[in-house]
């Protein structure tokens, strides 16, 4: 509850103070989009225990769907966002149909393979995706031209999504997903269709990635294949793990915020900021796999003992 209030308070007031700490308002939009993406991703990794290392594909599919529907069909904001969500979900449904009977390393490898396929198609299908340049000049509706309006629009989506995901992980569906992560065999023997749960978790996660991709295209006014690369897919994994998505719903929020703060603050001093972030990632995996949220939990339990 406290983490939720802190998150909402942080993002609700961010435009008021971010300039004063030497950062820029657009960073808030970027962080929120990645938090949405990371929270959706964590439904899969943290709750279902399914490692997807090619999730950038679905973020990219959402971004392209947003741009393509606007360019070719003339859709407005809502229909473009709906296209992004639907495209993420459909792409996810197809991929999940092939991988949901697997787990562990085989599951992870298949997600990488499928992610690479999407990335390759985005680069090579020039007539549709415009190749490496991507889709440029995606329009924002007039009421979102102003950065503040864009920020609070993203904040609204962010709040709604958090409520949806929070409800979901505390529903029977979320609890069964977590049970499957803990013991897939037992879940089968108490009567659950494990394949269907894994499939649906993947689809919901890619649907959210599609939404984040759509918001990204709206904010960046472009969609390009780089966001689908393996490299970019790794970022969301790091955010979820560093933040502590394995033990806390709010872990990916911490991970995404830390990632962008590291990029912008450390990046001001050194081009090798990702090296330091990577080292932090390694240290956490080695010494505190529960991530920063796990560390905070330990501190709280020690101080209350």
């Amino acid at each position: 509850m406290l983490q939720g209030l802190a998150t909402f308070a942080l993002f609700a007031t961010l435009p008021l103070w971010i300039g004063k700490v030497g950062l820029y308002p657009y960073l808030g939009v970027e962080v929120m989009i990645w938090v949405i993406y990371a929270l959706g991703f964590n439904l899969l990794l943290g709750y279902a225990g399914l490692p997807s290392f090619g999730h950038g594909a679905f973020f990219g599919v959402g971004a392209y769907a947003f741009g393509l529907s606007q360019i070719h069909l003339g859709t407005g904001l809502w229909l473009s966002l709906l296209s992004a969500i639907a495209a993420g979900a459909i792409a996810g449904a197809l991929v999940a149909a092939f991988i949901s009977h697997r787990r562990g390393i085989y599951y992870a490898l298949l997600t990488i393979a499928f992610g690479q396929i999407f990335w390759f198609v985005a680069i090579k299908w020039h007539s549709v995706t415009r190749g490496e340049d991507g889709l440029l000049n995606i329009k924002r509706p007039p009421f979102l031209e102003d950065l503040n309006s864009l920020y609070y629009f993203c904040f609204l989506v962010f709040v709604l999504l958090i409520f949806f995901l929070w409800r979901l992980v505390h529903s029977p569906f979320g609890r069964v997903l977590s049970a499957i992560r803990q013991n897939e065999t037992r879940a089968r023997f108490v009567g659950y269709n494990v394949w269907a749960y894994k499939w649906l978790a993947f689809v919901i996660s890619t649907l959210v990635a599609g939404l984040a991709g759509g918001l990204f295209a709206l904010a960046q006014q472009s969609a390009y294949p780089n966001v689908m690369s393996l490299h970019q897919s790794g970022f969301v994994v790091m955010m979820a793990l560093v933040g502590g998505g394995l033990v806390s719903f709010w872990g990916p929020v911490i991970g995404a915020v830390l990632f962008f703060v590291a990029r912008d603050l450390l990046g001001a001093y050194t081009e090798a900021w990702l090296l330091w972030y990577g080292l932090l990632f390694m240290a956490i995996v080695l010494f505190k796999p529960e991530g920063l949220a796990g560390l905070l939990k330990d501190v709280r339990s020690k101080s209350s003992a």
Binding site: P172, R175, N183, R186, A187
Partner: protein, 241 residues
């Protein structure tokens, strides 16, 4: 109620089960015993859908369930526990039981309803002697309590037929007596099939016992019949006498 006929199973060149037939009558407690490697657990795995038999059939309440996946067999009212404990370790005892109830299972895809404790889940924990530990995580329970929770999970599914795979494995005398009392209390309220090494335990509870050796049923009958059976005497199971 439950009938397995002429089951065969091999893994590669190794024949694990050969022409195994068993019948479990409603409301009775049947036992399966035999030395290590006799094929008892493989037999359980065939009966509960973990493996499909190479040959033979399995029928439950007149319906052919041969080769059905575990989830479909579970939904017909057949539940099982495991020799190597299979719990949801990070969940509390109560949540373990809740997840296994048909009520939660039927709402498993619901994303808006709540995951609330039910009276039945508390009652199930009470039934296995864990009524005072509903909020203790499964992995923090003692070994004996984990064994009891293993049975609670199987009971939570409200089964008509319950398979228990070595429910006293690794337990001391006191904890074994606790599980014996628990299983004795379940007798007659549902049909039970128990694999067990501990002959005293099984002979004290079972109505009918199948003795397995080398992947075959070498003897069967009531505990009294088996005590006099020369096959049982000659095998390494005769320790009871």
């Amino acid at each position: 109620m439950f009938e397995a006929s002429h089951l065969h199973k091999r893994f590669g060149d190794h024949v694990v089960l050969e022409d195994v037939s068993m019948r479990f009558a409603a409301g009775r407690l049947s036992g399966i015993m035999g030395p290590n490697g006799a094929g008892k657990t493989t037999c359980f795995n065939l009966l509960t859908g973990r493996y499909a038999p190479d040959r033979g059939s399995v029928r439950f309440e007149g319906r052919d369930i041969t080769g059905l996946p575990p989830r479909r067999i579970a939904r017909l009212g057949i539940s099982r526990s495991f020799q190597v404990m299979n719990l949801f370790d990070e969940y509390s005892a109560l949540d373990n039981v809740l997840v296994a109830t048909p009520e939660v299972r039927s709402r498993g895809f619901s994303m808006l309803s709540s995951f609330k404790p039910s009276d039945f889940a508390f009652a199930t924990l009470d039934r296995v002697g864990l009524g005072d530990k509903p909020h203790v995580r499964a992995k923090d329970l003692s070994y004996g309590d984990r064994r009891a929770l293993e049975i609670a999970l199987a009971l939570a599914a409200r089964p008509k037929l319950l398979f228990l795979d070595e429910p006293t494995a690794g337990l001391g005398t006191e904890a074994t007596a606790r599980i014996a009392a628990l299983i004795g209390g379940l007798k007659r309220s549902l049909t039970l099939v128990v694999i067990e090494h501990d002959m005293k335990f099984l002979f004290g509870l079972a109505d009918h016992i199948y003795v397995m050796h080398w992947g075959q049923v070498i003897a069967q009958g009531s505990p009294r019949d088996l005590m006099a059976n020369p096959w049982v005497q000659r095998s390494n199971l005769g320790a009871l006498q």
